[in-house]
């Protein structure tokens, strides 16, 4: 048997935690309410259901090929040449989305806190930290997430708790106050970002120790992430009301409102730092799967030599992918949901069908 590039193994609980943090990742920052205003928190739930449907398809694929990652699965189903082409398409998508995540966080810091600092500074800093984690492999990323998750959850709870005095839950009413077409469009946007992006985990399922439990943990992760995103967005809408529609970063704006008896104010940096932890994991996972996948496609003996080149590609891509913040927001809202559909839904479904027709299975 060929030596595997990734020797590390993660437990199903670690999978749950990584997938959970990955899903919340950067989408908690961006404004998901542009299309639907105060109904956005309902849209998150609908998007989660659609995302779980996507996840059902690609986890079925992963379950059929236990112990094989995406590149290996593609080789088995489509043969080594077509399989590699399809793998490269996936890897290109992962690189692109990873770069977008880098860009999102970089732009966030520039717009929100450091208007005069060049964007590239933040992007390079993020990439260096991620490169360090990727170099040390999956187990290190998993352990990071285990440390980060309690911190993140504590800060999110603190955030909601401190904003209770500013909230007015009636601002969430009336339910479902938009047309179906807007609702569905927004739902697809949420399903594509963040839920569908978990397609990257097709590269990781193979390294979960308890293969049987992997699927259950994964679904639980998506579900919890959906609930957290929904609660956080409901919090934002209940504090900001209709202003949420025009905000670039509604989450940040709502955190800046915290004022408990003039003592607990200006807490945004503390709470945002916890968001950065989630962002780090999201960037690191995309970085990691791209690097590992490329090494496999090109049959390298180790993926470590690719870490720095891939990092440089991601930095360059994230600088070039969009020209300005405005374009980035438009991309995330209107183009990305349709651009991502083939990778999150089309290709996995096609793979399943071809595998079923050709009767390809993993040999036990």
């Amino acid at each position: 048997m060929k030596m595997q590039l990734e020797q590390g193994r993660i437990s199903s609980r670690e999978l749950l935690v990584i997938a959970f943090v990955f899903t919340i990742g950067s989408s908690i920052l961006l404004n998901s309410s542009v299309l639907v205003g105060r109904n956005a928190w309902l849209v998150i739930l609908a998007g989660m259901v659609e995302g779980l449907f996507f996840a059902f398809i690609f986890t079925t694929l992963a379950m059929r090929f236990k112990g094989k990652n995406l590149v290996e699965i593609n080789n088995l189903i489509f043969g080594s040449i077509l399989g590699k082409v399809i793998s490269l398409a996936y890897l290109g998508y992962f690189l692109l989305v990873g770069s977008l995540a880098l860009r999102t966080f970089g732009a966030f810091f520039v717009v929100g806190f450091y208007p005069e600092t060049p964007l590239i500074v933040f992007i390079v800093l993020e990439a260096i930290v991620c490169a360090y984690a990727v170099r040390h492999g999956l187990e290190v990323i998993a352990r990071c997430s285990l440390i980060f998750v309690p911190i993140v959850i504590i800060f999110l709870v603190v955030d909601v708790f401190f904003l209770l005095n500013q909230m007015d839950l009636t601002k969430l009413l009336p339910f479902f106050d938009v047309s179906w077409s807007q609702f569905l469009q927004a739902t697809q946007a949420i399903a594509a970002f963040p839920f569908g992006e978990t397609i990257a985990f097709l590269m990781i399922f193979a390294y979960v120790k308890e293969q049987q439990k992997a699927r259950r943990s994964f679904f639980l992760a998506l579900f919890f992430a959906g609930i957290i995103l929904c609660v956080m967005l409901a919090k934002v809408i209940a504090t900001l009301g209709d202003i949420v529609i025009i905000n670039t970063y509604p989450f940040l704006t709502s955190v800046r409102l915290i004022n408990v008896a003039e003592v607990f104010t200006r807490l945004e940096l503390i709470i945002i730092s916890s968001i950065l932890m989630m962002g780090f994991l999201k960037m690191a996972i995309f970085y990691y799967v791209s690097t590992l996948g490329l090494a496999q496609v090109f049959k390298l003996r180790s993926y470590q030599p690719l870490v720095i080149p891939v990092g440089i590609i991601m930095i360059v891509l994230s600088m070039l992918i969009v020209e300005n913040t405005n374009e980035m927001m438009k991309l995330a809202m209107y183009k990305y949901p349709y651009f991502a559909l083939p990778f999150q839904f089309g290709l996995p479904l096609l793979s399943l069908l071809v595998a079923a027709i050709r009767g390809v299975r993993v040999k036990v």
């Binding site: 717009v111 929100g112 806190f113 450091y114 208007p115 005069e116 600092t117 060049p118 500074v121 009636t170 009413l173 009336p174 339910f175 479902f176 106050d177 504090t239 900001l240 009301g241 209709d242 202003i243 529609i245 025009i246 704006t253 800046r256 409102l257 004022n259 200006r266």
Partner: protein, 402 residues
């Protein structure tokens, strides 16, 4: 050897972290001018231009609470008001660097005051900067000055050293009377973004007390979209706050129901109150019912009638409900005359009848002035305070008293 190298690396990383904090966007304390209040007026020469007044703290002139003048603190004012006129707010603010050597720093800004003329022209032109820039905060108070905003920032405050801080604390102290509305930038923008709800802001007036000019809160400025269309006085403001469920405390003055003496009034203190807007459809006709529940104590009584008498007590409660009713009616009348939905009736209807709302939304300007509003008040009196009957001779053995 390897371990030593690791420790060296660690030191290196730590020193880099410490040395390179904020290379670009660093703001040292001695290079910033902390702004605590902003005033925005139309230009004196060209009304299309914008005159911005910023109140900057002069830390060196600040007098500590123990300083008794003399050597410690300076003799001058602890603040500096700078004024500049330009095309846009941002432009005016940046051009302050021609007058003040430090860059203005906004996160500690307490209050944003708009001049009357600027408010009448519409605030959209001026307010965008305060949301778009990352420095100003949404918890800043919003006020409208009768006259010029810059004058309000020049008023004298006896207990506070900064006029801007004084006004923001006056707004916070309004809870004692609930006769002035307190609106921060978030509330204001939320109303501005609503299709039907009219924005409101605190109304400030500069009054002359002998030689001194002092700032006084006098009520509420009412907007239609982003243009100021009128004002509410203190009583009308409280009428508005009853409906908005923003009453915290206050004094209600009633005539004693027994002696009916107009000069001997009774004051009742509001302890807690709850207001609710209930839209209803009656025979296809939209009606609003405002439900107010109030609870209070007897605060002071000028006549010598026996308040412990149950019939007197309930008569007082009725009188109080009447006064609340009148205040709400006054606010309603003003709002309907101005055709400005300051109560958020439109939003309440939207929430209760989302499907019917689509027809009404465009017509709201026609519906609101004629809207039928029922006011339902339940007022209760809890205690008589530390004494029962008013101080007066001859309670013992008085046949009439019981």
């Amino acid at each position: 050897m390897k371990k030593r190298l690791k420790i060296l690396y660690l030191w290196l990383i730590l020193s880099i972290i410490i040395v390179t904090v904020g290379c670009w966007d660093r703001r040292e304390l001695d290079t910033i001018a902390i702004v605590t209040g902003m005033g925005i007026d139309t230009g004196e020469v060209d009304p299309e231009q914008i005159q911005v007044t910023a109140q900057i703290v002069k830390a060196a002139e600040f007098q500590g609470p123990t300083t008794t003048g003399g050597s410690g603190g300076g003799q001058g004012k602890p603040y500096l008001n700078v004024t500049n006129t330009a095309e846009t707010v941002f432009d005016a603010i940046r051009e302050f660097t021609h007058i003040v050597n430090r860059k203005l720093y906004f996160p500690h800004n307490q209050i944003l005051i708009f001049g009357e003329q600027a408010a009448k022209n519409g605030l959209r032109r001026y307010i965008d900067f305060f949301l778009r820039d990352p420095e100003p905060r949404l918890i800043t108070w919003v006020a409208v000055a009768k006259g010029k905003a810059g004058d309000v920032l020049e008023t004298k405050a006896e207990l506070e050293q900064l006029p801007s801080l004084n006004i923001s604390q006056l707004i916070e102290a309004r809870a004692a009377t609930s006769e002035v509305s307190a609106v921060n930038l978030r509330d204001f923008m939320e109303r501005l973004m609503s299709r039907t709800t009219a924005p409101i802001a605190t109304l400030v007036e500069v009054k002359e007390h002998g030689e001194q000019k002092i700032a006084e809160l006098v009520g509420t400025a009412v907007f239609k979209k982003d243009k100021m269309v009128g004002t509410l006085d203190k009583k009308e403001t409280r009428g508005l706050l009853w409906v908005l469920n923003k009453i915290e405390s206050g004094i209600i003055i009633v005539t004693c129901p027994e002696c009916k003496d107009e000069t001997d009034k009774t004051s009742l203190e509001i302890i807690r109150a709850k207001g609710k807007i209930v839209p209803e459809l009656k025979n296809g006709q939209l009606e609003i019912t405002v439900k107010i529940k109030e609870e209070g104590n007897l605060g002071c009584k000028m006549c010598k009638q026996d308040v412990t008498n149950p019939s007197h007590w309930s008569a007082l409660e009725k009188e109080k409900a009447q006064v609340i009713q009148q205040e709400v009616r006054a606010a309603l009348k003003k709002a309907q005359n101005l055709n400005a939905d300051i109560f958020g009736f439109g939003e309440a209807v939207h929430k209760k009848y989302p499907s019917l709302w689509k027809e009404w939304e465009g017509e709201w300007d026609k519906i609101f002035p004629k809207l039928k509003v029922n006011v339902w008040v339940e007022a209760k009196l809890q205690s008589t305070g530390m004494i029962t009957m008013p101080a007066s001779p001859g309670w013992v053995g008085n046949e009439d008293a019981t």
